[in-house]
C-alpha cells in the first residue's frame, strides 16, 4: 500500500496523490509551487513543502503544511530567508531547510522551535538528504560542494567548538551546482551518490570520506534514484532518458554511453526532473512535460502514467499509506476533518530562541505511537514527561530487581535442561562411534578372510 506523491513548480497544479497499486487518484492538495527537493513527508503524518517566491521581490519564502485529510493549506511558516530544499528525518522529528545564503536551518517539528542555524556553504543550498538512520545530514550546494554533517557534532556545543570545522567531510569534486544526492543503506559505511550540472555523478564513501567512482554522462543529470540492492543507480538526464549506472562490478567499457553506464530507459520527450524508487520494485520518474511515469526497471517498460500539470513535475515521493487514512476519509474530507481536528504542529520559528526561555509552553516530541492511534494526546507539555521520569525512577528500581531475579531463575532452569540435552547427545554420539568402529573391524576381518 504505497502512495505516490508528486508536486510541480506550477502553483495551480498542487500536489498530486495516487495509489501506486490501483492508480486511483486521491486528494489533490492545493496551491503548492515547490522548488526541486522542496517537498517532504514528515513522519508519514503530514506533507510539508517549501514554496517558490511568487514575486522575486518578496524577501521571504514560506513552508506550508497539509494534513492528509484536507486539500487546503493548514499551517504556514515564514522562515527568515527563502528556503528551497527541505528534508525530514524518517521519524519526522526534525525538518532541515537550506537557505539561499548557504545556511542550513534545523527545526524541531513538534514545537516548531528553530534548534540551530549554521553557515554551511558559500552559495545557496540545493539539496538536503538525511541518512537512513537520521544521524547524518548531507547537503549539496550551488558551488558544487557536498558536505556531510554529523548531527551529533552539529548540536554538541563543545564538540563543534573544538573541531576546526563543523562538517564531517567536504567533497569539492564537482564543478557546478549539485542537482541531487542519494544515500544508500549501511549506516556509517553507506555510499553516497551525487549528481551535478557538470554532467557527472560521483560515488563517495561516507566512511572513508573519499571519491570512489566518477561517472560522466552524455547529458546533465537532474535526478538520481538508488536501486534497493545498490547494484545500480538510475540517473534521469536532461536529454530525456534514464541511464542505469553500475555501482559495484567493473562494467565493460564497451557501453555506447560511457564508462560504467550499462543501459538506459527512454521514452521521455522532455527532461527527467525527479526519480523515486518504490519498494514494489517500480521506478517512478517525473518529467518536465508534467507527466509522472511508472517504470518496470527489469523490462524497461512503462507500467503507468499519471498527469500532474502542464508545468514540470519536480518532486516525487513514495510513502507508505498511513493506516488511518482509508479511502473513505478521502472521499469525505469533512467528516474526517471533524473527527481528527487540526492535528498539525505549530508553524516553524523564524529565529533561534535561547534554549530555556519558553520551554514549558512548547510541546515535546511525542513518544513513538502507531499511525492509527488516536492522537488526542499528541501535544503533551514537558512537565508530564518529567513526572513520568520521576515516577519511573522511584518505583522502577525494586520492580526491576525482582524481574531480574525471575529472569535469572528462568535462565538457570533453561541451562540445566540444556546440560541434560548435551549429555544425552554425547552418549548417543559415543555409542554410535563405538558401533561404527566395531562394524568396521568386522568388515575388515571379513575382507581379510575373503582374501
Amino acid at each position: 500500500m504505497e502512495l505516490l506523491i508528486a508536486s510541480s513548480s506550477v502553483a495551480d497544479a498542487g500536489i498530486g496523490c495516487w495509489d501506486l497499486e490501483s492508480g486511483a487518484e486521491q486528494l489533490r492538495y492545493k496551491s503548492c509551487a515547490s522548488p526541486p527537493h522542496g517537498l517532504a513527508c514528515v513522519g508519514q503524518r503530514f506533507l510539508a513543502s517549501s514554496q517558490l517566491r511568487e514575486q522575486p521581490s518578496a524577501s521571504s519564502g514560506s513552508i506550508l503544511y497539509w494534513s492528509w485529510s484536507k486539500p487546503q493549506v493548514e499551517v504556514k511558516s515564514l522562515p527568515a530567508e527563502p528556503i528551497k530544499p527541505i528534508a525530514a528525518n524518517s521519524h519526522g522529528t526534525y525538518i532541515a531547510g537550506g537557505g539561499q545564503s548557504g545556511d542550513i536551518y534545523m527545526w524541531e517539528v513538534a514545537s516548531g522551535r528553530l534548534l540551530k542555524k549554521w553557515h554551511a556553504h558559500y552559495r545557496a543550498v540545493t539539496c538536503l538528504v538525511f541518512s537512513q538512520d537520521g544521524s547524518f545530514l548531507i547537503s549539496g550546494s550551488e558551488d558544487g560542494c557536498v558536505r556531510i554533517w554529523s548531527l551529533l557534532t552539529v548540536f554538541e556545543e563543545c564538540e563543534s567548538q573544538r573541531a576546526s570545522h563543523l562538517y564531517l567531510h567536504s567533497f569539492t569534486g564537482h564543478t557546478l551546482r549539485i542537482t541531487d544526492i542519494v544515500i544508500g543503506y549501511g549506516g556509517v559505511s553507506a555510499t553516497i551518490v551525487s549528481a551535478s550540472e557538470d554532467r557527472t555523478c560521483k560515488v563517495w564513501s561516507l566512511l572513508k570520506g573519499r571519491l570512489l567512482r566518477n561517472i560522466v554522462f552524455p547529458s546533465v543529470i537532474d535526478a538520481i534514484a538508488l536501486d534497493p540492492a545498490e547494484h545500480v543507480f538510475y540517473a534521469g538526464s536532461r536529454d530525456g532518458s534514464i541511464y542505469i549506472a553500475a555501482l559495484n562490478a567493473e562494467s565493460p567499457s564497451t557501453s555506447s554511453y560511457g564508462m560504467h553506464i550499462i543501459g538506459s530507459l527512454s521514452d521521455h520527450s522532455k527532461a527527467v526532473t525527479c526519480l523515486a524508487y518504490s519498494t514494489g520494485d517500480l521506478l517512478i520518474s517525473g518529467s518536465e512535460d508534467g507527466m509522472v511515469r511508472v517504470w518496470d526497471p527489469i523490462t524497461h517498460n512503462i507500467v503507468r502514467m499519471f498527469r500532474l500539470a502542464k508545468g514540470p513535475v519536480n518532486n516525487i515521493l513514495v510513502v507508505r499509506r498511513p493506516l488511518y487514512l482509508n479511502l473513505g476519509s478521502f472521499s469525505n474530507p469533512h467528516t474526517s476533518s471533524r473527527r481528527h481536528g487540526s492535528q498539525l504542529p505549530p508553524p516553524l520559528d523564524k529565529y533561534v530562541t535561547s534554549a530555556d526561555e519558553d520551554v514549558d509552553n512548547k510541546g515535546v516530541i511525542r513518544l513513538p505511537s502507531l499511525y492509527n492511534a488516536p492522537r488526542d494526546a499528541s501535544y503533551i507539555s514537558h512537565r508530564t514527561i518529567d513526572n513520568h521520569l520521576k515516577e519511573l525512577q522511584q518505583q522502577g528500581s525494586s520492580a526491576a530487581t525482582e524481574m531480574e531475579v525471575e529472569r535469572l531463575k528462568h535462565e538457570c532452569n533453561r541451562t540445566l535442561q540444556m546440560v541434560q540435552q548435551w549429555k544425552k547427545m554425547y552418549e548417543n554420539l559415543h555409542e554410535f562411534c563405538v558401533n561404527e568402529l566395531l562394524d568396521g573391524d568386522q568388515v575388515d576381518g571379513s575382507k581379510r578372510n575373503a582374501v
Binding site: 545564503s101 558559500y122 576546526s164 567536504s170 554532467r199 570512489l212
Partner: protein
Amino acid sequence: MARSKAASKKQQKQQQKRGVDFKKIKRKLGRKLPPPKNATNTEVKSKAIVLPEQSVASEKAGLAVSKKGLTLKELLQQTSHHNSKVRRDALMGLKDLFQKYPAELRSHRYAVIEKLRERIGDDDKVVRETLYQLLKTVVFPGCKEDNQGPFVSLMVAYIFNAMTHLAVDVRLMAFKFFDLVVQYYPPSFSLYADKVLQNYEDILRKNQFYLEDKAKLRSALAGLVRCLSLLPCNKRKVDSSEENMAGQKILHAFELDMPAESSGFSSITKKLKDLVPVLVNCFQDFFPSVHHMPLLDAQSFDCMHSILQSIDLVVGFFGYGIHQGKPASQLSYEGPDEAIWDHTISSLLLKKLFGVFPLNPTNHLSEKVDDRFFILNIVITEIFLRCSEWICPPGFLLEKFLQYIENALLGSTCSDSRSGKAVWEKHILLLLPFIPKLVLQVASDWKSCLLQAFTKIFEGCNPQSSLKLACLSAIEEMLIPGDDMVYPDASDPLFEYQITWIRALPQLLILLGDKHPSSSQVVLHLLLRLGQCANSSSPFSREYENMQYSLDKFYSSCVDRGDVYYGPFIRLSWDSQELAICGLYYFSNLGPFLLKSIAFCCLCSELEHLVLFRIIEVLHSAFSAGHIQIADYISFFMTLLSRFKVLPENIYPDVESDAKISNRGTFKLLTNTVCSCLSRIGDDSLVFQILEQVIFDQLLLKPPLDNACALLRVLVVLDCKPTRLSEQGIITLSKYLSGYLFEVVHCIPEDDEENSLPTHQQTCCYYMLPCFFLFDRSPKLLKLVLNLMGSLITESSSSPSSHSYTQYGNDNSNQINAVVSALLLMHKDTKVRKIISSFKEEVVHILQIIHSLQSSDSENMNFEERHKIQCAYSRLKLVTCMLPNEVPAS
C-alpha cells in the same frame, strides 16, 4: 692441441700381453726367484685425466657467450675467482653478455643475483665499482618489470653485511648499493628501514671518516636523502594519489584496515629520533671547514646539503605524523615518549642548528660560494618553518628568520649572475608553500612585508615557470577561505594583496596562451574555486564580476572590420575548456560583453561541437539561476543561429569528402538545443513576443538557407496552434516565405521526382516543415504566400531582373517552374493539402496566370522555355483538378 694429446695418451695404453705358448711352471710356494739383473720393468702406469669442457666447441654453439667466448656459467664461476682481475673481467663479461642476450638475464636472474651478491662485500675497490655499474646499467633495468620483492631480498642481506664490514670503503659502498636498490624498488626502504637507519647512524657517528673520504660520504648521504624522501611527509600528495586511484577500482573492494604504507613506517619513529642528533652533530663537524677554509668546496657543500635535507625530511615526517595522528590515531605517535622527543629534538635543533643561522661566508670570494651558502640557509629556513608548525620558537629567532625570509624572497641574499638567479628560483620554491601559514601567524607589520615580497615574486616571475605554479598554489590557499569560511575584512593588509592577485589572474591566463596547458589549467581551476566562493557576501564578488571585462580576450576579441581574433580558449584541452566554461556559471551577472566574445568562440569552426553544446548547457543553467539577463540570453542564441556558417553551402555535397567535413548535422543539433532551451525559459507566449521582431529582422537580412530554416524553426517551436503571430508579422513573414520556398525548391535537384531518394525527401522535408507548421497555424499566411507567388510570376515576366529572388531563374520559365514545384511539394504533405484545398481559387489564379503567360508572350520565348512552362502548367493543372476531389472544399 688438447685433442691430439688425448689421442696419444690412448695409444700408449697397452695391455701387457701374456704369452699363451709358455707353459706355466709350477714353483714352490713361498719362494720367488729374484728378477734377473738385466730385466727391464715393462709396467706402465696410467691415469685417466678429466679435462672438463675442453673440447666443447660444438657444445657452445647454441649458447649465449660473451665477447671472450665464455658462457654464463663460466662467468659466474669466475666471479668468485681468487684473482681480482679475473673477477673484474668476469663482471665485465656478464655485462657484455646480458647486453647482448637480455633473455638470458631474465631466465637466470635468481642464479645470477645469488652469485653476484657475494661480490658486494668484495675487498677490491675496482671489482665493487664494476659490480655497481653492472647492476645499475644492466641487471636492475632488465628485471624492472618482474616481481622484485624476492629478487631484492636476496641482495639485501649481503648489503647489510657489507655495511658492517671492517673496511670503511666497503661500508660506504654498501650504502651506495642500497641506494641503487631503493631507486629501483622503493618499497625496500620501508621493509628494511630499521636496519638501514641503524647503519647510517653508526657510520655517521664515526666521524673520523668524513673528512678523509668526502666523495664516498657524499654518495652515501645522497642515498639517505633518497630513502628519507620516501617517508610520507606531505598530506596533500598522499591525497592526490588516492584521488587518481578512484574510478579504476572496484567500488567495494576489500581493503586492509591499516594502510600498508604507514604501518611500514610507524615502527621507525624511534630510529629517526636517534638519527636527528647524529645528523646535527655531523653537520656541526663540517663547521670548521666552513669557517676556516677560504672557500666551501663542492664536496663538503654537498655533504652539508644532504645532511640538512635529511633533517628536513625527518622533521617533515614527524609533522605529518602529528597531523595524521589527530583525526584518526593510525600511527603510533601518541605513545608516552611523544613529549620527550618533541622536547629533545626541538631544543637540539634550536641550539645547534638555528643558533648558527644564517651561515655566512667569512669573505666574499666568488658568487658560487655565495649561492652555496644561500642554498644551505634556505634548507635551514625550511626546517625551521616545519618545526614552527608544532613548536613555538622564541621571538628573537622568529625575527631573525622572518628577516631572512623576506630578504630571500626579495632576492637580495643571492648573487645577481644568471646562475645565481637560477639557483634562487629553484630554491625559493621550497619556501613558497609555507607562506600562507606564516602570513596567518605573524604580526601585521611582518605580514605586509612578506606579502609584498611574495607579490613581487608572483608578478616578476615567468608565466610558465614552476615558480609561478608554486605562487599560484600559495595564492589559492590564501584566497579561498578555509574551513571557517571567514573572509578577511578590508582593514587586513592581506585584503589589498588578494585583490591584486585576483586582478592579475585573467592577464596571466591570456599570457599563458595555449602553449602551457597545465599552467592554464591551474589558473582556470583557481578561477573556478574563486567563483564558487564569491557569493554576494564575499568581498571578492565584485572583483570576480569585473573579471569578465578582462576575460573576453581569453575567448575571442573582435578587431575592427569584423575580423575576430580567437583567444587561447579554443585550442586548450577539453579539461581546461570544461573548467573555463564552469567558471562562467558563477558570474552573478554575465554581461553582454563577455557573452559576445563567447558567441564568437562558438561560431568558430575549429571549436569541438561537444564544447559548443556544453557552453549552451552551462549558460542555460546560469540563466535559470538568474545570472544572465533574458535579453542577453536570447540575443546570444539569435547570434548563434543567424551567424553560424554551415559548410559546405551546397545541400547535396557532390563529393564524399565534402560530406565528411560538413557541419550541417552539428547545426541541426544546435538548432534543436537552442529550441529546447528557449522553450524551457518559461512563458512561451512572452518569449514569442520578444523573439518575433528579432527573428523578422534577421530574416529580412536574407541569411543563408540553413540559418533561415533554423530561425523559422525557433518561431514554430514557440508558436502554438492558433498562431501568436501579429497581423503585421504575418504580412512580413509571407513576403519572406515566398522567397524562402523558391530558394528551397532551387536547392533541391530537378530530378528529385524521378530519383526520390529517401535522403533527398528527408532534406526537403527538413526545410519545408517549419513553413508547413506556420501554414497550419495560420491559413491566412498561406493565402498571402500564394497571392504573392502569383504576383511574383507576373512581376518577373514584366521585368525579369527587378526582383531579388530571381537570382536563380534568369528567365520566366524557371520562375514558374519553381512556383509549381513549391506548390507540388505542399501538395504532397497530406496536412497542408487539406489547407491548400481551401485556397483553391488562389491556386487556380496562379494557374491562370501561367496559362495567360503561355499564350501572351510566347513569341519572346524559345522552344525550350515554352516546353518548360507547358510542363509546369500541366503538372499544376493535374494537381488542381485533384484538389476538390480529394477533399471537399471547406
